[in-house]
C-alpha cells in the first residue's frame, strides 16, 4: 500500500531523509483506494519504504539537530553568548558513508550513478560564496571536481566534448562506463528563483560523499596517491617564485592542483608504462569480424589518447583556461598561460618551442612565425574528430565552421551535414584537398544506388532479359527479311566475368529470394520498414539540396560582396 507523508518528524527532514536514502515518491495505481476516497493529487510513498527508512540511524541525528537548533535559538534569545558558543561547539554531525555503501553495494554501481554526482559538484563548485549554500560545501565540491579532472587527465579517458549554449558537455570512458557530465560556463550564474536550493543541497551532500569514495577508488586503481599530490620530479614543474601572489599557503595546494598543468604523484613510479595488448582469442566467422572491428576501434582510441602529444600550447588570457587546459592535458599536450592569469604556468609566450597559440580575439600584436594562431574551437573539434584537423579553417579572424555535436549518431539514411561528411573523409585518411561538394554528391549517389538495390533489385534482371529478347527478335527479323542468309563464323569474344559483379548479383538474388519466401505478415512489416527508410533518404536528400542551395546563395553573396 501507499502512505501519505505524515510522520512525527517534519516534512522537511522527511524529504531530506528520502533523498539521502534513495526513496522516491510513488504513483499509486488506484488513487481513490489509498487516499480515503478522494482523488485529489497528493504525494505518496510506499509504506514498506517508510518503515525501512525509520531504521536509519541518521534519523536520531536529525532529531539531535532539531534539539540543537532549539537550544541555540534559546541561547540567542537570552543573549547568553557563552552559552551560544558552548552549544555551537557541540553541534551534532553525521556521516553518510554507510548510506553510500548500502545504496551502492559494488563500485560499478556507484560508477554508473556518477553522472549526477559530477554534474552537481561541478555546478556547486561554480557558485559564488554568497550564502546560497554553505561555503564549505562549495569548497568540497571544488576539491572533488579538481580531483576528478586530474583523474581523467591521468587516465586519458576523455572521449567527447560539446560546447553548447548552456554549458560544456564532456564524456569520458571510465572502466568501460560512459560518463557524461555538464559544466556551466564560468561567471554565467543568475540564480533562478524557482529552484529549491535545499533539495539541491541535500542531493549534493550525498553526491559529494559518493564522488569522494569513487575518486579514491579510481586513484588507487591507477596507483596514484590520494589525496592527489603533484609529481615533484616531473619536468614540467611550475615556477616557484610567484606562488605567493595568488593564494595563501593553505589554499595554494588546491589552486596548483586545479591549474591542471602538472602531473600527479604515483605510488609506484611510472617508469615503464606498459602498452596493454588486447588479448587475442581464437574465433571464427562472424566473431572474427566483430573482433576486427573492435581491434580497429581500440587502435583508434589509442591514437586519440595521444592526439596532442608533442604539441605545445599557449593559452591567451581571453580563452576559457580551465576547460582548454583540461582538454589539452587529457590528450597529452603541454599547456601554459600567462603567469598573471593563474598559478601553475610552465613557460612564457616567448618560448620558441610553442606550436599552437590559442587565441580568441580579432588580432594580435606580435606574431611568431613558427607557431599557429588558432581559435579555441579547433581543439574541441579535433577531440571530437579524433584526428588533428587542418588548422586553416580555424585561423585568426576566419569564420569558423560549425561546431557539431559529437553526441549525435546518424543512422543509415539520416541527413548528415556536409561538415561531418568532410570530417569522416578525413578520418578515413583521404586528402583534405577534396572538394566538399564532390564528397556530398558521392554520398548521395551511394545512397541512391543502395536505394535502387533495395527496392528494384529484380527489375535489373528483367531489363537484361528484355534486352536478350530484343536481340533475338532482331535476328529473327533479319532472318525473315534477308533471305540470303550470310552465315558466318566469327571468333568468339571472351566474356570477361566480373567477379565482383557476379558476387553482387548473387547477393541480390539471394535477397530477392528471401523476400519472396517471406510470410505475408513479415512481408508487410518489411515493406513498412523499407518505406520508412526510403522516406528518410528522401528527406535527407531534400535537406542536402536545400543546404546546397543555401551554400550557393551564400557564395553568390560573397562574390557580390567581393566585387
Amino acid at each position: 500500500g501507499a502512505l501519505l507523508q505524515t510522520n512525527n518528524f517534519s516534512s522537511l527532514i522527511f524529504r531530506r531523509l528520502c533523498i539521502l536514502k534513495g526513496i522516491y515518491p510513488h504513483e499509486p495505481k488506484h488513487k481513490k483506494k489509498v487516499n480515503k476516497g478522494s482523488t485529489a493529487p497528493r504525494t505518496f510513498y510506499l509504506l514498506k519504504d517508510i518503515r525501512f527508512l525509520l531504521h536509519e540511524p541518521i534519523v536520531g541525528k536529525f532529531r539531535e539537530y532539531k534539539i540543537f537548533v532549539r537550544k541555540l535559538k534559546k541561547a540567542y534569545g537570552k543573549t547568553e553568548w557563552s552559552a551560544v558558543e558552548r552549544v555551537r561547539e557541540n553541534k551534532p554531525t553525521y556521516k553518510l558513508d554507510h548510506i553510500i555503501k548500502e545504496r551502492y553495494p559494488t563500485f560499478i554501481d556507484a560508477l554508473r550513478d556518477i553522472d549526477d554526482a559530477l554534474c552537481m559538484c561541478f555546478l556547486f563548485s561554480t557558485f559564488a560564496r554568497t550564502g546560497k549554500c554553505h561555503v564549505q560545501t562549495i569548497q568540497l565540491c571544488r576539491r572533488l571536481t579538481v580531483e576528478w579532472m586530474n583523474y581523467v587527465i591521468a587516465s586519458r579517458s576523455l572521449r567527447k566534448v560539446f560546447l553548447s549554449i548552456k554549458g560544456i558537455y564532456y564524456q569520458a570512458e571510465v572502466m568501460g562506463q560512459l560518463i557524461t557530465w555538464v559544466v556551466p560556463y564560468q561567471f554565467s550564474h543568475d540564480h533562478p528563483v524557482d529552484v529549491d536550493y535545499r533539495v539541491m543541497a541535500t542531493f549534493t551532500e550525498l553526491y559529494t560523499t559518493l564522488l569522494g569514495f569513487v575518486s579514491f577508488r579510481l586513484y588507487s586503481s591507477l596507483n596514484l596517491v590520494y589525496p592527489p599530490k603533484l609529481d615533484s620530479n616531473g619536468e614540467s614543474e611550475p615556477k616557484e617564485e610567484s606562488e605567493d601572489d595568488y593564494a595563501m599557503n593553505s589554499e595554494s595546494y588546491l589552486e596548483k592542483l586545479s591549474a591542471l598543468s602538472a602531473s600527479l604523484a604515483r605510488v609506484v613510479s611510472s617508469a615503464d608504462e606498459e602498452e596493454a595488448q588486447p588479448d587475442q582469442f581464437p574465433s571464427e566467422g562472424e566473431d572474427m569480424e566483430k573482433m576486427e572491428a573492435r581491434e580497429k576501434e581500440l587502435k583508434q582510441q589509442e591514437a586519440q589518447k595521444k592526439l596532442f602529444e608533442g604539441l605545445k600550447f599557449y593559452l591567451n588570457r581571453e580563452v576559457p583556461r580551465e576547460s582548454l587546459a583540461f582538454v589539452i592535458r587529457c590528450f597529452g599536450g603541454q599547456v601554459s598561460w600567462d603567469k598573471s592569469v593563474c598559478i601553475g604556468s610552465t613557460y612564457d609566450v616567448t618560448d620558441e618551442t610553442i606550436t599552437h597559440q590559442i587565441i580568441d580575439r580579432p588580432s594580435v600584436g606580435k606574431q611568431y612565425i613558427n607557431r599557429y594562431y588558432i581559435q579555441p574551437q579547433w581543439l574541441y573539434d579535433c577531440v571530437n574528430a579524433k584526428i588533428l584537423l587542418p588548422v586553416e579553417d580555424y585561423f585568426l579572424g576566419v569564420t569558423l565552421p560549425p561546431h557539431l555535436s559529437p553526441f549525435v549518431e546518424e543512422k543509415e539514411g539520416d541527413y548528415v551535414p556536409p561538415e561531418k561528411l568532410k570530417m569522416m573523409a578525413l578520418q578515413r585518411g583521404e586528402k583534405p584537398g577534396v572538394d566538399e561538394e564532390e564528397e556530398e554528391e558521392e554520398g548521395e549517389q551511394e545512397e541512391e544506388e543502395e536505394q535502387e538495390e533495395d527496392d528494384n533489385g529484380d527489375e535489373e534482371d528483367d531489363e537484361e532479359e528484355v534486352a536478350e529478347e530484343k536481340n533475338l527478335k532482331k535476328m529473327e527479323e533479319q532472318r525473315s527479311q534477308g533471305k540470303s542468309l550470310h552465315v558466318k563464323v566469327t571468333p568468339g569474344k571472351l566474356k570477361v566475368e566480373n567477379k565482383a559483379r557476379l558476387e553482387q548479383e548473387e547477393k541480390a538474388e539471394e535477397k530477392r529470394l528471401a523476400i519472396m519466401m517471406m510470410k505475408k505478415k513479415e512481408k508487410y512489416l518489411y515493406d513498412k520498414i523499407m518505406f520508412g527508410k526510403k522516406r528518410k533518404v528522401r528527406e535527407a536528400n531534400k535537406l542536402a539540396a536545400k543546404r546546397k542551395a543555401h551554400d550557393d546563395s551564400e557564395k553568390a553573396k560573397k562574390k557580390k560582396a567581393r566585387k
Partner: protein
Amino acid sequence: MAAARRLKRVAISQPGFLTLNPKVTPTDLVSSRRKRVNKNKKKNWNKYSDVQDVEEFLEDVRHQERTTGGLLCEKSDDSLFFLDVGQPKKVEEKEAAEPVKGKKRKGKSSRPLRIDLILQHDSLVAPPKDVLAYQKPNAKKLRRTAERAEKLAAKGVVPRSKKRLLNRTVVDRTSKKTETEANNNPERDFYDIWGQETKDLGEPWYLQQTRKKLVKRPEKLNEKPSVLPAVEVIAPGGSYNPDFFSHQELLREAHEVELKKKKVEDKLERQLAYNKADTATEETILREQVEGLVEESEEEEEKDAPKEDGEEVAVGAIAVADKKTERQRKREKAEKIKEQQRLTERRQTEQQQQLFQLRSIKTSIKQQEETTQVRQKRRKAKEEAQKAQPRRLGKLKFQPQDMEVQLSDELAGSLRQLKPEGSVLMDRFKSLQKRNLIEPRERAKFKRRLKVKYVEKRAFKEIS
C-alpha cells in the same frame, strides 16, 4: 529626646547656671519633688544615675588627643607656647612676591580644594594597628606540614591528590572531533569503502538486538524510477556555433512548443469569453421584474391537469388485482412446460448446427485472439512510453523547462562573445523531477504572521 531632656535637666541643676528668665530660679525649674526610684535594678542605674560629668571629661580628653595628639597637661611648655615677636618680615615678603604675578597665581591654583580638605584625615590619633597584617593564624601548623611535604618529596613519595590527577585517563578531544566531523568539511578523508570488509563488531544476534545492525535494503529500492539518462545532451542545434540546419530544427521545435502554449491560452480565453448579446438591456430587466405576474392564471390551469391523470392511473393499478381461476392456472402451467420444451429443442438443433459452423467459429475465435493480442501490444507499448514520462507525484504536474534557444542573430561568432543561455542549475533540478526522483512543488510562500499596516509619516503628510 529623652536623653536631651535629661541633659537639660542636669545642666539646670548645676550650681551657677544662669537662666534667661531672671524671675525663675533654677531650683524652681527642677521640680522640688525628687523622683524616687529603686536603685536595686540595673535598669534604673542606667536611667537615673548622672554620668554627665564623666562623659564630658572623657569627651574633652578625646578632643585633646584628636587635635593635639595627647593630653595638654602632659605636654611640655615649649610645645604649647611660643614667643610672639610681631610680624616684621611679612611686608617685605609681600613686596617681593608682588612683581611675580605668575607665582602668586600658581600658589593659588596649587592650594588644595576645600572639598579635599574636608575629607582629609585630621585626627592626630594614630589609627589602631591591624594585628592580622603582621600575624598569620596557624602559621606554625602550616610550616610544619610544608616541611613534611618537602621531606616526602625528597623521598619521592607523591601526595595523594597529585596521584589522583596523574591516574586520571586523559580524554582525547581531538579524536572526538574527527569522529564528529561534518560531512561537508572540505578537508575530509575518504577511504576504500568497497574494498574493505565490514568489521565484525560482535555476534549478529547481539547487533540485531542492540539495533546496531543495519536493516537490509529492499531490492526494489535499487531500481531507478525512470529509464531516462541522468544527463540529456542538448540537441545539436544547441551548439554555440551550430550547423545551419540543426539550428533551424531546434528553432522549429521551440516554435512548436510556443504554438502549443499559445493554443492553450487561446482556448482558455475562448472559454472565458461571453456572448455580448446576452447582456441585460432595459427591456430584459423589465421582463424579469414582471415575470410571473402577468401569466399566472394560465400556468395554474396547466399544472392542475396532469395531477388528475396521475390519480386515475394509481387507482386503476390497485383495482386490477383479481383472482385466477383453476382453469387459468392449469393452462398457464401447460404453456410454461411447452415453452421450456421448445427452448431445449431449439438449443439441441443449434448445437447440431454448430458442428457445421466449425470453420466460422474458428475464425471468430482467431479474430478475438488477434484483437486481444493487438490490445496487449498496444498496452505494452504505452507502458514503455510511459516509463520515460514523468509521473504525477504531487499536487503539481511536471512542467518541462523552457527550451534553450538562441535566435540566429543572437548566436555568437566566437567563444569569447558567447552569452550562455539557460541555467545548468535549472536543468539539473528539472532533470531530477523528470526522472521521478523528487515531486514537483510550488515554492514555499512567505507567510506573514501579523498584518501589515501602512501609515504615512507625519513629515510626509504635511507635504502631501
